[in-house]
Amino acid sequence: MFKLLKYALYDIVKSRFALLYTLFMVLVAISIYQVSEDMSKVSLSLLNIMLMIVPLISAIFATTHFFNNLEFTELMLAQPVKRRDVFLSQILAVMFVLSLAIVIGFGVPMILWGADSSVLILLGIGIGLSVVFAGLAFLASVLTRDKAKAIGISLSFWIYFSLVYDGFVLYLIYSLADYPLEKPTLALVFLNPVDLGRIIMLMQLDISALMGYTGAFFQDFFGSAKGILLSSAVMFVWMILPVSAAMRVFKRKDF
């Protein structure tokens, strides 16, 4: 397993994508730091990148990588190694590279210009979302034999979680405006990793208390030990779930 991972990592770390993505992240972070003066604004701008760009790139890259490496995966499957290990080495390498790009890309400017704990949590969320969307992309990839179709499915996951789902939430809130909606919306937030990441981050930024009653309710929940535990647990489940589903399919898949 570790041998496989070692080689998969070696390959992916040296790939042009890893370099470009990291560079892109560095440039984005530097320009954000240059433009905004105060930390909370920096965090909010970085948050937009984390919530939008990171899942998109993760989904597309993971799908392309899966298909580009398909023949190699097949070669591995003909070797005396477990299928599980072949799969895990591939996906872990992808997740590692995506996370590394975020850590370096956002970490270097942070060392240069300073950071607070909220930025660290932001990094965590970025990594979490990378893992979730890489997992979803692999799931899309193992479910179909066609690269274009898989990219399509990955993009649909992305659009669904970052746009369609929120539209649905807005519609629900709108049509049920007369009822107390704090608890149901809390539950709805848990069902979408992007929303969950966004809310966890917003609660960290200390702006939540400025958001009236709903904000205060969420602050209360996410500020408590129970809330922190539960939200990180749910985020963790989101990170595990697509990967394990993809692995299940991969184990039974014909190459």
């Binding site: 041998k3 496989l4 080689y7 998969a8 070696y10 390959d11 992916i12 040296k14 790939s15 490496n69 023949e71 190699f72 097949e74 070669l75 499957l77 003909a78 070797q79 005396p80 190694v81 477990k82 299928r83 039974r252 898949k253 014909d254 190459f255």
Partner: protein, 247 residues
């Protein structure tokens, strides 16, 4: 050495292998033939565990391959198109494959050195031509002195010199008593390399015997024409079938 028992495989609605049985014995070399879509590649992939059959089992050295992966260290596989990670170097690829078989300490580097690969161990895979990649694939297949060699279109894309080197190696290994399984479109090559012909048609074994008996049955003295005759028969059989179904 390999026993294919009642394998059944469907891709969606398409039945590729139906109640498929075959025995491969050590010391023999098999030419696996059949028209496109007859199920040869599927059969190879099932043996390698890359495709999972709907029913039936494969025994390698008497053990079922279900849920097992260690048996694959007995198989040297050369795929039709060997594609490798772009950034890995030849030397790293070799040591990686060696890493995966920690029990094997002595490597057969004959092919690698004859192909001149030992001088380019530092070259990344992405810089290699298709032919050189094939050389890498071939070297890997033979590197661990496996008891079973599965070669899928082994000479495709190789230059004539490399083809000769590879052919000699195959013959040499056959003489050592290994089981060799080759698919190829170049029939003359199969004649040289194999002594047993298996012809698959529509997911079933249509012919399975030595090359000599193939020539006897078809009444042709040359392997290539014998195969052509076999193909004709298989197609006729299909026609007969359809005619019958109209009655």
């Amino acid at each position: 050495m390999i026993s294919v028992q009642q394998i059944h495989k469907k891709f969606g609605k398409l039945e590729v292998l139906k109640d498929f049985n075959l025995e491969f014995e050590s010391g023999k070399s098999y030419a696996l033939m059949g028209p496109n879509g007859s199920g040869k590649t599927t059969l190879i992939k099932i043996i390698l565990g890359m495709v999972i059959p709907n029913a039936g089992d494969i025994l390698v050295k008497g053990n079922s391959i279900k849920g097992s992966f260690a048996y694959r260290s007995d198989i040297g596989y050369m795929p039709q198109i060997g594609r490798y990670p772009d950034n890995i170097k030849i030397g790293q690829l070799f040591s990686m494959m060696q890493d995966m078989r920690p029990d094997i300490k002595k490597y057969d580097m004959e092919l690698a050195s004859e192909f001149g690969l030992m001088d380019m161990l530092d070259k990344p895979m992405r810089t290699l031509s298709g032919g050189t990649r094939q050389k890498v694939s071939a070297s890997l297949a033979f590197m661990f002195r496996p008891d079973i060699l599965i070669l899928d279109e082994p000479t495709a894309g190789l230059d004539p010199i490399a083809v000769e080197i590879l052919k000699n190696k195959i013959i040499q290994e056959r003489e050592k008593g290994r089981l060799i399984l080759i698919t190829s479109h170049i029939l003359s090559e199969l004649d040289e390399l194999t002594n047993h012909a298996i012809y698959i048609h529509e997911g079933k074994v249509f012919f399975n015997d030595t090359t000599e008996s193939l020539k006897d049955i078809t009444g042709e003295s040359k392997f290539t024409t014998a195969i052509a005759r076999l193909m004709e028969w298989s197609l006729k059989k299909k026609q007969i079938k359809t005619e019958l179904s109209h009655v």
